[in-house]
Amino acid sequence: MMWKKVLLAAMVAGSLAACSSPKGPTDPNAAGAAGMNGKNGANASGMYGQGGLNGSGNGMGADGSGNPLTDPKSVLSKRSVFFDFDSSLVKDEYKPLVQAHSEFLKKNQTRKVIIQGNTDVRGSSEYNLALGQRRAESVKSMMRVIGVPENQLEAVSYGKEKPRATGMGEADHAQNRRSDIVYDGE
């Protein structure tokens, strides 16, 4: 009968150990990685801090400083170029917007923009990333043609990863088929 008591004790101890530490000693890597995880997170936020991507859309409020980039009366406060389904062509209605930002950049050669392409939320992440890139490159190409130097421009893509509209209706998809112009420091 003795071994039964020993076994029971071992079981209870084992169960308790399992409760207090979901990562068993079979998986020392897991514990190590979990420990590092917090550090990674801290690094990430420490390195990159406040990005300001969220403020990149239309309708940023005036800041009272007369900054045309944020003055709602200025075309420069408009930052989004919308595209048709399956298209990366900049439509005529958005050409004045791209033109205005191009002229601003030509006059302010220390300013830089990152142009972020976006897509519908359906389909392969990576293929959508490439489609979004095409939309960003399309805006960038137009700016280059207007005379903005290459070193003031970067075209990148968020693909389907950061939809402005999360619904599945056509209006939602249309909101997501766009490129956003984001200035350095925003």
């Binding site: 079981m11 990576e126 490439a130 075209a155 893509s157």
Partner: protein, 428 residues
Amino acid sequence: MPKFLFHYVLLPLLLLCSLSVRANDLTIEVVGGGTNRHAIALPEFGLESALPGGLTPIIQSNLARTGVFSFVDPNKVNNRPIDPAQIDYPAWLGAGTMSIAVGKVTAGAGGTITVEFHLFDAARKTRLTGASFSIQPNQSRQLAHRIADMIYEAITGKKGIFGTRIAYVIKHSANSYSLQVADADGANGFTLLRSSEPIISPAWSPEGGRLAYVSFESKKPVVYVHDVSSGSRRAVANFKGSNSAPAWSPDGSRLAVVLTRDGHSQIYAVSANGGEAVRLSNSNAIDTEPAYSADGSRIYFTSDRAGGPQIYVMGAGGGSAQRVTFEGNYNVSPTPAPDGTALAFVRREAGRFRVMVQETATGQANYVTDTHYDESPSFAPNGQMLVYASEQGGRGVLFTVTRDGSTKTRLTTSGGDIRAPVWGPYPR
């Protein structure tokens, strides 16, 4: 259907499947009658109930996912063997048993426990496999995976995959994402990286020690390589424009990545430690989603050079490409089987995204999933199953499916919207 079959094979199978939902947070959907399945009996191991989660419920959940097995209901047989000598062979044979596993748990030295198990052929009464293990009690889940692998290997002759791991991404909210690593059955998940920006396209290194992925933490897509055990990581592709779609070469020395530094998405090779990039693909279209063939000689990829996205293959050093998919107007996410005998990919047809498996030998492609939004297929290292992302109630969920599409199992992982699963290699 013969009444016998229903009462003694299918009904118990269904009952046990629904039981395992409660026991292991798994939902198992078996398509087809299961008449070709190997009927195994897993009577409760002696004293296994003292272990968290037990042993045989975990073993059974694992084996059920392979589509190879059906399960004999032990309640139909008046015999509770925990040692080989106690097996009442005629009784188990009468219930349709083809093989039976028996085992027991005993106390070992210094707080360890000993688990002994044997698998017997019910008709021949011969021992197929078995072993005795000395473990800490909280290693029992890992041991159950090991025993499931031994049983799978003894019955199929193929290597088991239950000791492997998967990685995937959880979207907790619009501003919270994490990269997770878990056991192949979705249990024991832990966070490798947390970020307020999206993480996509995780990819296991061939030795299983590192994960490459794309993080948007610097407000643009950058490719990182992250050491899973130390937690250290570095950006290996951070060029102007977008950096994405990392794919490991089979020797682990380099990555194929997609860069846009030349103005559109093209495939390049970089060292796994970073450094200069060498352009591999050369088109005026989108070339993305590179994936090395198992032997490392070729790279499959997605390109829209002919209009809609289709799958192509080129040499690992670049050069001319051959088209691989011809049916359908949207074929993406090529995923070669580790043994080179098949290619999985995602096809969009009539607004539905489904996973297909194309057998290399025949060129025949079959749907293996059947909802509206299945994506990101990734083969298990033995090539017999895939993990993929699907959607339920507007949230991403993970499933495994057998290569023939006959058995699907939902993996229940801790909350959130789950995507981008990738199956890791065999442990080394």
